[in-house]
């Protein structure tokens, strides 16, 4: 047998482990990189824009696109009807009757859900046409809260509950342990909706070839490529008829760009119908409203402890909110952590109750940390609470429970095989090197001055390289048997020499800024003892031409462990073959062949040498001269998989990931006692992510994850009003940290290689998205002496937690939320006169602010065209008004709604008339719900606008009584109208 040639020892690992500058950077810095929206499109491409639901929940009663279709530049309008005709619902991991198409078909279930799509010559004209589409909705009660979903209106009529998945798990003997435990602590925690919001939004360019019945799509998709099957099935073609390409550069993802897949289907169908290529570039408003979100989760966690603070058992009750539809790969957020639900601790007994509900919010999906922040927030909060109740130091309690040194690889109760690391040693080193003692004295000093200063800790295992079988843990063992085993985490890489002797690499990962080109060039450079600059790494991926598999893609931190590993394998195989060729040429045995400085030479006679490129070219130019066994065509594709990633066993134990890094964080925060602003004073993070391939890039990933974690802790929320209106439609409302909010970060590393990955590396880019939110929350809790059960810790949220009863004031102000209120006004006319105005069409029209046209549509019900707004912001709305529960001349109910391009509002007012000496006292109570665009971008303005409109209603009522009331200064009157943007 031939033996492998050796790399010259002095060059061994010259590149791996070094912080070399990135090969990607020059193009990016000069504006020369090519992102999806930069790619050339055919001249006949048309541009898509989406009409989206302004309401959280409702039936689509009517959809009229005729006027929009007739507008200049409009090519086609696609609605749910076309989706039903040309596509199939998206397949999901949980088999439930809750179908989702790329466009809503009969019901809308979240604000921002696509309802129709306009194709036009340019985006401007497409957006013009959106304003001409009329949709009539019959609103349904929205279900916003995960707890409320358990009882609320069922979103998907063919299911009988909003709980689309429920399972219980038990490992060890949790009941017995809890029953006998010395201490039991419990807490309920709420993880909010947030998103990593990459700076580049989604982009899809689709074309359809009717001759082949094949789709060709370019999208800044990031994987997982399991979704390729979801897309091709939805487009009703076999996988080989959906060619999916990714662009060379992508502007960040952090998981988010998984969620472009429904739009691949939408654009595919659109291209098929239009008969020409179609392009869509998501805008920021669409992205924030409707792209995706982390799951929000309500967790009740109990821990059983012994007297020394050893955690003997955990009992998780997780209620996961996946938004309006379970969109693949959900409910994966809930199961990604399944094997490591015991955190970094040796806990033998575990109970888990998992439920997944749907609510009227944007469907959820991949997000940096995926499932991690949702479990570590409760787990690490609860350990602080346990320490406090037991009178132990929170760090000592954690240390006591760590998976012990020397226990690796360690099998956790739910089945994870923690691969490597020495948790206690890493923790102790971080305490020493990170300066915990100093931080503790800083806290003492601050507190001695009466300042609010706290310290927080968190300990986390960071899983990477997801087992493709983990999601099947949600099935019962019987269901799994029927469905067939799912397992593994197949990675592929191709390394080859071209006829010039130059080397190229292609992988089925689609980088979004992580520096894959640089790292792969380092890996391959070491194998051939060349420099990274000699290696060309292709970052575009094409499912029609490049090898790939379901696990392909850039997610689950699988790059360093799996993809770089597969590349290494491919490069080694290639080198083995090149070595054979070289041995023949140099006339030495293969084990005499060595590589160095771009040359191949005889180890004991370095002058007997050839340039590497020349030998490599020979395989192309002179295949007949290649020795037997070396094979022709110097190109190797490696498929790498991990034997440890088996499917769940009958006991539901699952090794959900291939590698597990260790993280220990501690931080000090100071809180401004007046404003409750949290300042992160110091933050130390210790990582053991195995072998670091490029430490500079590793630190970059850690800093990026930290920024997301800090944002999640303090600022970021995709917030919804109680009526389902989405409130964070701009980057002035969704608060990503800027350079002013970020904190300095001290990074420490240990490097215990993973025994299971080819290069000993593990993922590390997601860890701080898991560890940082809770570490900061723990520090805030320590500073304030209060339990923290929800995020984000905005100033206002902390103020509401801390403030005592408010001192009363003299001024009479409106209490509560102005969108719901009551009031009273005097009208100088008798109740009968007032009544007559309200029931007279013409005079009612004059009372309703901004009313142009009031048409009776039934008994006491009307349709009207109204112009409403705040200041210069105004829009036309189609309104419906009805008077109900008439009790003349004493009381009635006024019910109305208004729908237009700016959004939709619904309101209801109860009006009662009481005779007084001067006329009538009108008492009113109202509720208003506003959703859609104005609510998403103008939340600040809403209350003032509603209050002003209601005032205006009554002023006009007064003026209808014919009384020229002196109290109403005419210039004020004019101004008020101007304020409301009302055209009289």
């Amino acid at each position: 047998m031939w033996r492998t040639g050796k790399v010259n020892k002095t060059n061994n690992n010259a590149w791996i482990g070094r912080s070399i500058a990135r090969l990607e950077d020059p193009a990016l810095l000069r504006g020369g990189a090519r992102f999806a929206d930069d790619l050339a499109t055919p001249a006949n491409v048309c541009h898509a824009a989406f009409m989206r639901s302004p309401i959280a929940h409702g039936e689509i009663v009517a959809l009229d696109t005729a006027a929009a279709r007739a507008m200049p530049g409009v090519v086609a309008i696609i609605t749910g009807a076309e989706m039903l005709a040309h596509s199939a619902p998206f397949i999901t991991g949980v088999k439930v009757a809750a179908p989702q198409y790329a466009l809503a078909t009969d019901r809308v279930r979240y604000v921002g859900e696509p309802v129709a799509m306009v194709l036009a010559h340019d985006r401007y004209r497409a957006e013009d046409a959106l304003e001409a589409i009329n949709v009539e909705y019959a609103p349904l009660t929205p279900v916003l809260d995960a707890m409320a979903a358990l009882e609320g209106l069922v979103l998907h009529p063919d299911t009988n509950s909003n709980v689309l998945h429920e399972r219980y798990f038990s490992y060890g003997d949790p009941e017995g342990v809890f029953a006998a435990a010395a201490h039991v602590v419990a807490g309920t925690y709420h993880y909010p909706r947030n998103s990593c919001t990459p700076l580049e939004c989604f982009c899809v360019i689709a074309d359809y070839d009717p001759g082949e019945d094949a789709f060709e799509v370019t999208a800044n998709f990031q994987g997982p490529y399991t979704l390729h099957t979801v897309m091709s099935r939805s487009l009703k073609v076999p996988g080989n008829r959906l060619r999916l390409k990714t662009p060379p550069a992508s502007g960040g993802s952090y998981g988010v760009k998984q969620a472009v897949f429904p739009y691949v289907v939408a654009l595919g169908v659109a291209a098929k119908i239009a008969g020409r290529p179609v392009k869509w570039l998501e805008d920021r408003f669409e992205h924030l409203t409707a792209a995706t979100s982390a799951t929000n989760r309500v967790t009740t966690l109990r821990a059983a402890l012994d007297k020394e603070g050893r955690v003997l058992a955990l009992d998780w009750d997780q209620l996961e909110d996946c938004g309006a539809y379970l969109r693949a790969p959900e409910p994966a957020t809930l199961y990604r952590m399944h094997g490591n639900m015991t955190g970094a601790y040796a806990i033998e007994n575990l109970a888990i109750h998992n439920r997944v509900v749907v609510t009227n919010k944007t469907p959820t999906g991949l997000m940096r940390g995926f499932g991690g922040p949702q479990i570590y927030f409760p787990l690490e909060r609860l350990l602080d609470k346990a320490a406090a109740e037991l009178g132990l130091d929170p760090l000592a309690l954690r240390r006591r429970n760590l998976v012990p040194s020397g226990a690796m690889p360690y099998r956790t109760a739910p089945g994870a095989l923690l691969d490597s690391g020495d948790y206690t040693t890493s923790l102790d080193r971080a305490v020493a090197d990170g300066g915990l003692d100093d931080l503790l004295s800083r806290r003492d000093a601050a507190r001695a001055e009466g300042r609010l200063y706290g310290i927080g800790y968190s300990v986390v295992v960071e899983p990477s390289i997801s087992n493709m079988g983990y999601i099947t843990t949600l099935l019962s063992p019987e269901q799994r048997d029927r469905a067939g085993a799912k397992n593994g985490a197949l990675a592929t890489a191709t390394v080859g020499f071209d006829p010039s002797g130059a080397i190229s690499v292609a992988v089925s990962s689609v980088p979004q800024g992580q520096g894959h080109r640089t790292v792969l060039a380092q890996v391959v450079a070491d194998v051939f003892a060349i420099t990274p600059k000699d290696v060309s790494v292709m970052t575009e991926h094409d499912t029609a031409k490049d090898p790939w598999s379901i696990a392909s893609g850039n997610y689950a931190s699988r790059f360093a462990g799996a993809v770089a590993g597969a590349t290494h394998r491919a490069a080694i195989s290639l080198r083995d073959r090149l070595t054979l060729i070289a041995a023949a040429d140099l006339n030495v045995p293969p084990d005499e062949v060595a590589y160095g400085a771009g040359r191949i030479f005889a180890q004991h006679n370095p002058d007997n040498a050839l340039p590497l490129g020349r030998l490599a070219a020979k395989a192309h130019w002179s295949p007949l001269s290649i020795p037997d066994g070396a094979g022709v065509g110097l190109r190797e594709t490696a498929f790498w998989n991990m034997a440890e990633l088996t499917e769940p066993d009958e006991g539901d134990r699952i090794n959900s990931s291939g590698a597990y890094g260790f993280i220990f964080d501690f931080c000090g925060v100071e809180i401004d006692p007046d404003t409750f602003a949290v300042r992160v004073d110091r933050y130390v993070t210790m990582h053991d992510a195995g072998r670091l391939l490029n430490p500079m890039l590793a630190d970059g990933q850690i800093r990026g994850g930290f920024a997301h974690g800090l944002g999640a802790a303090l600022l970021e929320e995709l917030s919804y009003a109680p009526d389902g209106g989405f409130q964070a439609g701009t980057l002035a409302d969704y608060l990503a940290p800027t350079v002013m909010e970020i904190a300095e970060l001290t990074i420490l590393h240990d490097q215990t290689p993973s025994p299971f990955t080819p290069l000993g590396a593990k993922g590390l880019g997601e860890g701080n998205a898991m560890s940082t939110p809770v570490c900061i929350a723990n520090a805030v809790s320590d500073a304030l002496g209060r339990e923290i059960t929800a995020l984000p810790l905005t100033r206002s949220n902390l103020a509401e937690l801390m403030l005592e009863a408010e001192p009363p004031g003299k001024a009479k102000v409106f209490h509560g939320h102005a969108l719901e209120g009551r009031g009273s006004t005097a009208v100088p006319a008798s109740p009968e006169e007032v009544w007559a105005i309200l029931l007279d069409d013409n005079r009612l029209a004059a009372v309703i602010p901004g009313c142009h046209d009031l048409v009776k549509s039934g008994d006491n019900s009307y349709r009207a065209d109204v112009t409403l707004g705040v200041g210069p912001i105004k829009g036309r709305f189609a309104a419906k008004v009805a008077l109900q529960d008439l009790d003349p001349p004493q009381s009635l109910r006024l019910v109305g709604s208004a729908t237009g391009p700016l959004g939709r509002s619904e309101g209801e007012g109860h009006i009662s008339l009481h005779p007084t000496r001067e006329g009538t006292q009108v008492d009113y109570a109202y509720t208003v719900r506003i959703s859609g665009k104005v609510a998403a971008v103008g939340g600040r303005m809403m209350d003032g606008a509603v209050r002003a409109l209601i005032n205006l209603f009554f002023k006009r009522l007064v003026s209808q009584t014919g009384v020229r009331e002196e109290r109403f200064d005419p210039s004020f009157w004019e101004r008020l109208l101007a304020l409301l943007g009302v055209n009289r």
Binding site: E127, S719, D733, E800, R940, D943, G944
Partner: protein, 272 residues
């Protein structure tokens, strides 16, 4: 996120701008820097029929001292006023507040008068104008008029500018001898709209306290020394305020009490 179609007018002088305003009325919109207007038009919250670009009008580009006030023309950017060498000594409060207006990049283009005309109750310049008791100069084909700050902003993004009028300048009174000012702003992030912004100007007799971010327009109160917490509390309540996704009304009132105290005390300390 693209604006609806509009005509673009680039007048050569204010007179031409006023002619278009007179002809087109509410359908026309003045664009100076366009930093608020442009964003709202991209979101199609506003769709004017004609946009009148006054950024290039030299007659609106002056910063001058007139009758005890700094008169700032409608085309003067926030960055230009900030860089005006006399600013800190003639009106230090403005010099403190301007860096809080938007960001470096939006101040390069955003104008002083545009921000006033936009009338966002959470932004700094309307608050500065209100607490300094400045004035706005309006012009139309009908003539010119001067409107005092308290009459200028009527509410949320609502001002006294008539449909055929435009702002040609704003006047910020210069600091009186012996007067002292202070400013604090609480926002979620640096450069965000204020949750609460508090500015004060005081002399030996009294302090004028202004608050932005709470009510629909900046609230101003004049208080004689000494100022007690009950007065601040009553002021806080009088502003009302509402809950939104960034802060509760109660937190806003609490900030008025606390930051109001801080600002008033800073003025008092500087005076003594």
């Amino acid at each position: 996120m693209k604006p609806a179609a509009f005509d673009y007018a680039c007048p050569d002088n204010v007179g031409e701008a006023l002619t278009i305003l007179a002809e087109r009325g509410a359908g026309a919109r003045i664009c100076a820097g366009g930093q608020s207007l442009g964003a709202m038009m991209n979101l199609r919250l506003m769709s004017p029929e004609v946009l009148i670009d006054i950024a290039g009008l030299d007659e609106l580009k002056s910063i001058a001292m007139t009758g005890g006030a700094i008169e700032v023309g409608a085309a003067v950017t926030q960055a230009e006023l900030l860089a005006w060498p006399d600013l800190a000594k003639t009106q230090p409060l403005l010099a403190w507040m301007l860096p809080w207006v938007g960001h470096y990049q939006t101040r390069q283009r955003g104008t002083i008068c545009g921000s006033l005309a936009h009338g966002d109750p959470s932004s700094e310049l309307p608050l500065a104008l209100a607490v300094l008791e400045g004035e706005v100069l309006l012009a139309s084909r009908r003539g010119r008029r001067v409107v005092a700050a308290k009459d200028f902003q009527l509410g949320m993004m609502a001002t006294d500018i008539a449909d055929d009028e435009m702002v040609v300048a704003a006047r910020f009174p210069t600091a009186q001898v012996g007067a002292v000012s202070a400013f604090h702003e609480i926002a979620q992030r640096h450069g965000d709209f204020a949750i609460v912004a508090v500015a004060a100007v005081g002399n030996r007799n009294s302090v004028r306290l202004g608050v932005g971010g709470v009510a629909d327009s900046p609230g101003v109160i004049e208080l004689k020394w000494p100022v007690n917490n009950d007065q601040l509390n009553d002021f806080a309540w009088s502003l009302g305020g509402a809950d939104d996704q960034h802060a509760t009304a109660r937190y806003r009132r609490e900030l008025v009490r606390r930051i109001g105290r801080r600002v008033v005390d800073e003025v008092r300390d500087a005076l003594s």
